[in-house]
Symmetry: C2
Subunit: 134 residues, 2 copies
């Protein structure tokens, strides 16, 4: 079925806990993952929690990549949400697996925005420019 | 089964397309959704795309909330990723449904980070402070 987006949700297990707690390393790994996948980085937000754990999101032109780490369990949750055919999130997945030194993982893929026939007719609406000019 | 996090992935259909293309309205709706759910906002990144569509992510202390909108299809994809028992993402879901004026929706809930017995023993690792002092 056709869909507007697709999401790969990955659980990385038995990662290197020091990397999971290194916000610079996580940021670097996520940025490179985005680039390798062919995504265009638009904005990002990363945060190192106290006492430990990193959360980070990169907004890409094609949706987003997100990570949350639990160094104490060697675990990281990653979402690779993309749209269009030009981004290959599997390349991001492999890069992150390698950078986090994950010895195990599971992954789920989900289509997002499967439109029904009556949703597929683009809605007419005023763009911001039309509103300003109205 | 016990899990470190939980994720609600919502597809909102037949939304008000003008709201879906209004980055300020989306930002306001997402911030309020986070607060209503009892989450603590840490960082955020929102972007209005050309010709239309909004992407936005709020990193919360309890993981993240993300939205991507397709005004032309009246569709928005939302992820409410939370951890702990203090955040009620259903309250965020209801608020966003109301603010986007969604006439239809589907939702999927997924547990994230279900640990196996040998992953449940916290790993010993050096904290940033220990590394600095070493």
């Amino acid at each position: 079925m056709k869909a507007l987006g697709q999401q790969t949700s990955v659980e990385y297990y038995k990662c290197n806990p020091e990397i999971l707690n290194d916000v610079s390393a996580i940021k670097r790994a996520m940025r490179t993952a985005a680039k390798l996948a062919g995504a265009t980085i638009v904005q990002e937000a990363f945060h190192l929690f106290n006492p430990h754990g990193v959360s980070g999101v990169i907004v890409i032109a094609e949706s987003h990549l997100a990570i949350h780490t639990w160094p104490e369990y060697g675990y990281a949750a990653v979402d690779l949400f993309t749209c269009g055919d030009d981004v290959d999130s599997e390349l991001a997945f492999h890069h992150l697996k390698s950078e986090l030194q994950a010895q195990d993982y599971t992954a789920v893929e989900m289509k997002r925005g499967i439109l029904k026939p009556d949703d597929m007719e683009p809605v007419h609406y005023k763009s911001a420019r039309e509103l300003v000019e109205a």
